[in-house]
């Protein structure tokens, strides 16, 4: 089997907006979603910078017995997935009658764990923790909740690949469809934003401390970058075999034509160049496309000194003299971690469908490596029909997706 894999629906709940139209507008305007949150300083954070995202109110949409099992990021994922399914013209009757699967990126659910342990320590009685905590605290919480809420009957699991989770979820899903094992899969990534989930990340000095100017803090590829800004939310894409999409009369938005992956086999937090290069080259090989046709590269670049430097080297090595625009949407969103691989496919899709490349905010001065890339600080209005999206993560996991406009 060698099915073509297409995207037929998208939904997103991010600091750039809670629906596709608002997110597209934020990208077009180069609007940052980053704020300073003083509550983090009270908890002892080095950095109070974060993406701003409000919790959706699902009361009235889902019952108490459905909501009690859903953690923070699951709420975002529910909203994104409901929109994506609607966008793909898939209703509950279709889901009841077909084996639609779910592969969702998620790599923590800390708040429920922290709260459970607090209750256990205080009350000395586990039954006081409540019935929702076990389901909220597992890594697979998002896929398990969405699978039940949307009556999904195909593959059902979470992909935990650090900050490449969402990208790997889409990539792995595309392989299952390519091989004919599934016709349609809900793919995506979710990221909690509560402080409990990232206090330890803040503790290793990974975050920008440019607190006096929050929207300037995330500055991927800029010479004066000083760390990432944590973000979150959820993003869902509905992927499907071309034949299934045609049979349904579904909107066919784009084709996932290449998925590359690799592991650095190196340091736990410091990325290298060779691993990402192999991921990019594999994606290009799998896609079987001419590298000249790639009109835009959505970089992983998180605004950390070493990460951006090594990605710039990898992109320069693979693209050589070709100079497609390279930007990191994290300059607007901060690092959406487990969600990022999925949200950045949607950001890139919105740009591709609307003929622009969002600015790489705060790219004021290149360093010696980013100077070799074509990084626009202002929005570029141009049409392109293919993009490449990178996602890398702790432990040296790398994922690259290539998507073609249809």
């Amino acid at each position: 089997m060698n099915n073509r894999v297409v995207i037929t629906g998208m939904g997103i709940y991010s600091c750039l907006g809670y629906n596709l139209d608002d997110v597209r507008q934020s990208l077009f305007d180069g609007k940052s979603g980053i704020i300073f949150n003083p509550e983090r300083k009270e908890l002892g954070f080095r950095s109070g910078l974060t993406a701003k995202i409000d919790m959706p109110d699902l009361k009235g949409i889902l019952s108490r017995n459905q909501r009690v099992y859903i953690p923070e990021q699951g709420n975002y994922a529910y909203m994104a997935t409901a929109d994506a399914l609607k966008n793909a013209m898939i209703d509950m009757d279709y889901l009841e009658d077909h084996e639609v699967g779910i592969l969702y990126g998620n790599d923590s659910s800390a708040e429920a764990v922290v709260k459970s342990v607090d209750i256990m320590r205080e009350k000395k009685e586990t039954t006081k923790i409540g019935s929702g905590a076990i389901f909220q605290s597992m890594n697979s919480t998002v896929s398990m909740n969405l699978a039940c809420l949307f009556k999904l009957k195909g593959i059902n699991m979470t992909v935990s690949g650090a900050c490449a989770s969402g990208s790997h979820a889409i990539g792995l899903g595309s392989l299952l469809i390519k091989w004919g094992l599934q016709d349609c899969i809900v793919c995506g990534g979710a990221q909690e934003v509560n402080p409990y989930s990232i206090g330890s990340f803040d503790g290793i000095s990974a975050f920008s401390t440019r607190e006096n100017d929050p929207t300037k803090a995330s500055r991927p590829f800029d010479r004066d970058r000083d760390g990432l800004v944590p973000g979150g939310g959820a993003a869902t894409v509905i992927i499907e075999s071309y034949d299934s999409a045609v049979k349904r009369g579904a909107p066919i938005l784009a084709e996932i034509c290449g998925y590359g992956f690799s592991s650095n086999g190196d340091h736990i937090s410091v990325p290298n160049v060779d691993g990402p290069v192999r991921s990019l080259e594999m994606a290009l090989r799998e896609a079987g496309v001419n590298i000249r046709d790639i009109g835009y590269v959505n970089a992983h670049a998180t605004s950390t000194p070493v990460g951006d430097k090594n990605e710039a080297k990898a992109i320069a090595q693979v693209f050589g003299d070709l100079k497609p625009e390279v930007t990191s949407t994290k300059s607007m969103t901060g690092h959406e971690m487990w969600m990022a691989g999925a949200s950045e496919v949607i950001y890139s899709m919105l740009m591709m469908k609307n003929h622009f490349i969002a600015p790489n905010l705060n790219f004021e001065n290149p360093d010696e490596d980013s100077a070799k890339l074509n990084i626009p600080e202002k929005r570029v209005d141009k049409h392109f029909d293919m993009f490449l999206s990178n996602s890398f993560g702790f432990g040296g996991t790398n994922s690259t997706l290539i998507v073609r406009n249809l």
Partner: protein, 81 residues
Amino acid sequence: MKKEEFIPKVNDALAQEFEVEIEEITPDADIKETLDLDSLSLVDMVAIIEDMFEVSIKNQEIAQVKTFNDLYDFIEGKINE
């Protein structure tokens, strides 16, 4: 605490937690049906009662409780243990 005193408090707490109208909670109504309890949400109901009256409830004890009246009697017995 007398039964008449705690009944409104119990009803209020259960109506709020399980999102039902207070009028739906009547003495002879079936608890599981009224509050839409399954084996998991039953754990939450027990925790509410335990917290409210500072008592400890065993699974087999609560299994005997079918209606709200049964629950009020059960609580009264627990308080007087």
